[in-house]
């Protein structure tokens, strides 16, 4: 009928409101992009080595003019670190957002589901026992171990809850059980470790971007390029899922298939992220929450903004890690937890609209 009769002025008013909000959403995503670009520039131009902003820019645009020292600092340290921060932040943001969506639980993220601990245990096996899960990977074996453990844990978690009929909402409890189990196993390894190994282990666990290399950056972007478009393609279905399984199913969403597919995607994202940078807490939790408060949960806006918020947080943290005391670069995992938790509590308390209640 609406095709024949002209729309009422009230209806047009609602349309205008929706358009305004859609535009706001696009504007906010663009703004987040712009801020991220600024942060990346700041990240690249700051650091213990006192290179001027101008000189840094020159070396980035023309690598051939760099001295050996500048080349190492800018091209092998700062740039990969800055870009890795963006990639890992985006991965954790997206992983957290979709874990929260498919599990219908606001606390889900790679850390609370125990994936970071699993990765830490895998890394510890490599560092302390020199044991590699997949032989022949050479110097990468710490990361590979961490990845394999995170991936296996994630798959086991999703499979287990599915087979045993644990509700998605309750899966976080299984995840927390995993977290404590791996932490206990880790403690065993730590107990038997030498001092040097212990130092390495703790450094790994603190979560740091210092291990960034161009190869790792490449892998991160490859994974993002694989998973993100698929998540975007399933936007409506994921949005529908937030209205409840029943509603989504009645719209034609194959809910269990969607959950399996998305689980695989978030497992890959978080396993790669934590295996490269170690345990970085709260980015996967806070990023999506900020995005949700700003644009709501229509996935067409929520998903990109979750990625951007994750990237912004980690990029900002990367800058903060160098700014706290000159000459020292703190591991970012420490800072995300330290700043992240109070910030998170403020957000929750200050929220006018309380979802998840």
């Amino acid at each position: 009928m609406s095709e024949i009769t002209p729309p009422s002025s009230e209806a047009l008013l609602l349309v205008r409101g929706y358009k305004r909000r859609s535009l706001q959403r696009v504007a906010l995503v663009l703004l987040a992009f712009a801020v991220l670009a600024v942060l990346v520039i700041v990240d690249v131009t700051t650091g213990p080595a006192n290179l001027s902003v101008w000189r840094t820019a020159e070396v980035i645009f023309d690598r051939s003019i760099a001295t050996a020292k500048e080349d190492v600092i800018i091209w092998q340290l700062r740039l990969p670190v800055a870009i890795m921060a963006v990639a890992v932040g985006a991965m954790l943001g997206v992983a957290g957002a979709e874990m929260q969506t498919i599990l219908n639980n606001p606390l889900a993220d790679p850390f609370t589901l125990g994936l970071s601990s699993a990765a830490g245990f895998g890394a510890a096996l490599a560092i302390v026992l020199g044991w590699s899960v997949i032989p022949g990977v050479g110097g990468l074996f710490v990361s590979v171990n961490a990845f394999v453990f995170a991936m296996l844990t994630s798959c086991a978690l999703f499979l287990f809850t599915r087979l045993r009929g644990v509700s998605p909402e309750a899966m976080i409890l299984v995840g927390i059980a995993m977290l404590f189990t791996f932490n206990a196993l880790l403690a065993f390894l730590q107990y038997g470790a030498s001092e040097i190994q212990l130092a390495q282990l703790i450094f790994w666990q603190l979560g740091s971007l210092a291990r960034a290399t161009w190869a790792k950056v490449g892998v991160c972007f490859l994974v993002l390029a694989l998973v993100l478009p698929w998540f975007m393609y399933r936007s409506w279905a994921l949005t529908a899922l937030r209205m409840g399984e029943d509603k989504a199913a009645a719209l034609g969403v194959n809910v269990s298939l969607l959950r399996i597919g998305v689980s695989a995607g978030v497992s890959l994202l978080s396993a790669v992220a934590v295996s490269f940078v170690g345990a970085i807490a709260f980015v996967g939790l806070v990023g999506p929450h900020i995005a949700r408060m700003i644009v709501g949960e229509d996935q067409r806006g929520f998903l990109p903004l979750s990625a951007l918020c994750g990237a912004l947080i980690l990029s900002g943290t990367s800058i903060a890690s160098k700014a706290i005391s000159p000459g020292i670069v703190y591991p970012i995992g420490m800072i995300t937890s330290l700043i992240g938790i109070p910030f998170f509590i403020l957000l929750i308390l200050g929220q006018r609209k309380r979802h998840w209640q």
Partner: protein
Amino acid sequence: MSGLSAEGLSFSYGPRQIFNQVDVGPVKSGQLTALIGPNASGKSTLFRLIAGLLSVEAGRVRLDETDLASLSTRARLKRICFMSQFFTANAALTVFDVVMMAHKQLQGWRVSEADMISVGTALEAAGIGHLAEAYVSELSGGQSQMVSVAQALIRNSDVYLFDEPTSALDLRHQLEVLQQIRSAVIARNAIGIVALHDLNLAARFADNLILLGNGRILAQGSPAEVLRKQSIADTYGVAIETSTGPREEIVVHAYPS
């Protein structure tokens, strides 16, 4: 044979048999049918079997000449719109967002001007225009239910199944929502079945009733045929008196037996 019908429908939840060789219908288009029956008599299950959200153990559901089992789930759910009884959500989605989602039916990323006008018009028609920018997590039970009905009615389906669309609504909104559903079903010449607990609402708004009890169809027909004292009394386990209301409608009076 035209209309929606089920033949020899059997279904169990594990060891508990819900339906054994049940025939329903044919339910005709262009009129409203009410599905009545006590709690746990299988109303929601019957809807889910028709929609294909549960799979039958035996029997078939036909829409006109089509055996619905021959359609994919997606295609089947395009033709059959099912509104489930549970409708609260805690998502950060606005009412406009969720009705748009139902309207788009998972198709296409872009939202066109026509899409937006359809949603705006539907919200106004449903009397929930003022809620368009409210988050669904902020709605009352009754408001959520009206949003659910709007989500169903914006879709262009052949069959509409509403599982207790008025359970959380006040008197005025009960009447308004049932009137909306009835008008839509008639205007679209669609098949509409509404599960209702209130027999008087059923008698007033439905052209036909289906009485379900203990997994069996106990009666089908006009309100006068179905709302007989004995069958209702037996099905619900209450004492019944019926009378004729001021507008010639049947009024059911129930007393503890």
